[in-house]
């Protein structure tokens, strides 16, 4: 790390956009690169908190929390919230060539 804010390169933004299947304009990439750097910078603040004695993962509840294997119809159907349905399927932009 350098002394100033963390650097978030355009290449890194492009890689993340690629994984997220997003097409970004040059201007958007620059905006995000600045925002991502700010977010990472905030993690430095979090890192300064002493956490050595705290387990890495805790929910405060270690009792088993299960549901029984019983099937039931959903109270909410896709029709009640989505307008992108065709013959029962959700219709999305084509994802293969």
């Amino acid at each position: 790390m350098n002394d100033g804010k963390p650097v978030f390169s355009l290449e890194e933004i492009e890689k993340i956009a690629d994984l997220a299947k997003l097409e970004l304009t040059q201007a958007e990439k620059e905006v995000f690169s600045g925002q991502f750097a700010e977010i990472l910078d905030y993690f430095r603040t979090i890192e300064s908190v002493a956490t050595d004695d705290i387990p890495a993962y805790a929910t405060g509840d270690s009792s088993p929390h299960f549901r029984q294997d019983v099937a039931e119809n959903s109270p909410v159907s896709p029709e009640s919230f989505s307008e992108f349905l065709e013959n029962g399927h959700f219709k999305v932009p084509r994802v293969i060539e």
Binding site: L19, H65, F66, R67, A71, S74, G88, F90, P93, R94
Partner: protein
């Protein structure tokens, strides 16, 4: 080992098998797991990834994971953890899959398979719980659209990851069959291959024979039958061999098996593990398993195929080959045992179950659970042969009737007058007649021409309308011709 293709290289194979669990409801919600429901009929806010919902883990999923873990000699983690595997694709409405990462429920186990008649241990690296993704349909009305069905999204799966201990396509097939046999014995999965209950991805690499270092591997996906695992691996091994012999390096990539063209093709460049940005699932607590529950699960495990095969060998005197074949399918093994319990000779029962019965079931694409007759029917048929009432040839006819209609073999034989003529007196009369009708052949036989014997047997069988008991005819003929 098959010839030249194996001469310079060793094959190293590891399998990742996904098996769908036989639960009523999905992994984190109450939606049904039924097969072939109308699109999105079994989808709710949780499995559709709507904001503000929380997953609640299905008790059964954990029980099933532990059952398989115990059966494969794994160490069971009593506080395993779910993790988010992030990727963007429309079959995954939350944009992450709830899976397990560094704290899977089962680790470090093994199963034993038979390779050329010798036992070989295949290591199990891990077994973890995860949810299935939805189904995408690309062949809809609109060519610019993809259609999404989330009925399968959130259906529970176990992923079983093997060590790279498999050395050939045949071993991989045997291993996959073993896992299939285990999950069906344990009743954790229906193991219905046609419904996609079991799918495998194979990691394959070659290395110069005798060396230790692993070569660059490829991953072949979409292997959903025992036949395909052998074909896909054979294809991929040959492809890599040709690349290496031509001096071209193997590219680490994901390939897809196409059963129609019987070849694999590149799917997409392999995403590195960290691209999934796994992190602990904050919506779910640790999966804690109490010692008492673990004990309870252990106590209710059924007799597993290896133990059953051993019992068939030691108590029923079956060969290792027959025992292994019989136990592969739990229901077949249980049917066989029921036939033996009805008094049938184990060896004969095994032959009928694996021979004529298996052939019929295979032809009709059905299983022993849908038979028209009970185990007692087959035992009766075997008894009829044993006591000489019917010949082996007649038995086929009787079996066909039993299989088609479920009619009792003894009744069928009586009704059709099929029974074999074993009455010595009646047979002797027929033989005397045949001998006196054919003095020329009798002279030939007595002059040393042994081959004529078959002619006499044929004549007696003909005279009896095919019903003479051949063993008795042989004995009587020898006595009379002596």
């Amino acid at each position: 080992m098959s010839g030249q293709s194996q001469m310079e290289f060793e094959t190293v194979i590891g399998l990742e098998i996904h098996t769908q669990l036989a639960t009523q409801s999905k992994m984190f919600c109450r939606c049904s797991t039924e097969f072939a429901a109308p699109p999105n009929a079994n989808a709710c806010p949780v499995c559709m990834g709507l904001p503000g919902v929380l997953p609640v883990l299905n008790h059964r999923v954990v029980e099933f994971a532990v059952r398989l873990g115990l059966a494969t000699h794994c160490k069971i983690r009593l506080d395993s953890q779910f993790a988010r595997k992030n990727y963007f694709y429309p079959d995954l409405p939350k944009a992450y899959q709830i899976s397990q990462f560094d704290r899977p429920i089962c680790e470090n186990g093994w199963v034993e398979i038979q390779v050329d008649g010798n036992p070989k241990r295949i290591g199990i690296t891990r077994i973890h719980m995860e949810e299935d993704a939805g189904k995408l349909v690309h062949e809809g009305a609109d060519r610019r659209a993809t259609y999404v069905d989330l009925n399968r999204a959130g259906v529970p799966l176990l992923e079983i990851v093997s060590e790279p201990d498999l050395s050939s396509p045949d071993e991989a097939k045997t291993y996959m069959e073993k896992i299939h046999s285990l999950v069906t014995y344990l009743e954790v999965s229906n193991g219905d291959m046609e419904k996609g209950n079991m799918r495998a991805d194979a990691n394959i690499s070659l290395r110069p024979a005798g060396t230790r270092e692993l070569g660059t591997r490829t991953e072949t996906k979409n292997i959903n039958s025992f036949r395909f695992v052998r074909e896909a691996l054979a294809y991929e091994i040959e492809r890599q061999r040709e690349e290496l012999l031509a001096g071209r390096p193997i590219v680490q990539e994901t390939r897809l098996w196409n059963p129609a063209s019987k070849s694999t093709f590149v799917m997409r460049s392999k995403e590195e593990a960290h691209d999934y940005r796994y992190f602990p699932e904050p919506d779910l607590p640790l999966v804690t398993i109490e010692a008492s529950w673990l004990k309870e699960i252990e106590a209710t495990l059924p007799e597993l195929p290896d133990a059953k095969a051993q019992r068939f060998r030691e108590q029923l005197g079956l060969s290792a080959h027959d025992a292994d074949l019989l136990v592969a399918d739990r229901r077949t093994a249980e049917f066989f045992e029921a036939v033996v319990q009805e008094g049938a000779d184990p060896k004969r029962a095994a032959n009928w179950v694996m021979g004529d019965l298996a052939a019929k079931l295979n032809e009709d694409k059905t299983t022993v659970t849908d038979l028209k007759f009970a185990a007692g029917g087959l035992a009766e048929l075997i008894a009829l042969i044993g006591e000489g009432t019917i010949s082996g040839r007649m038995a086929k006819t009787v079996f066909d009737a039993l299989y088609e209609t479920g009619q009792s073999p003894r009744n069928f034989v009586r009704e059709k007058g099929l029974s074999q003529e074993s009455d010595t007196g009646a047979l002797e009369e027929m033989i005397d007649q045949v001998l006196s009708d054919n003095p020329h052949q009798v002279a030939q036989y007595r002059g040393g021409k042994q081959k004529v014997f078959g002619f006499f047997v044929g004549q007696v069988m003909k005279a009896s309308g095919g019903r003479a008991n051949p063993a008795i005819v042989n004995g009587l003929l020898k006595k009379k011709l002596a």
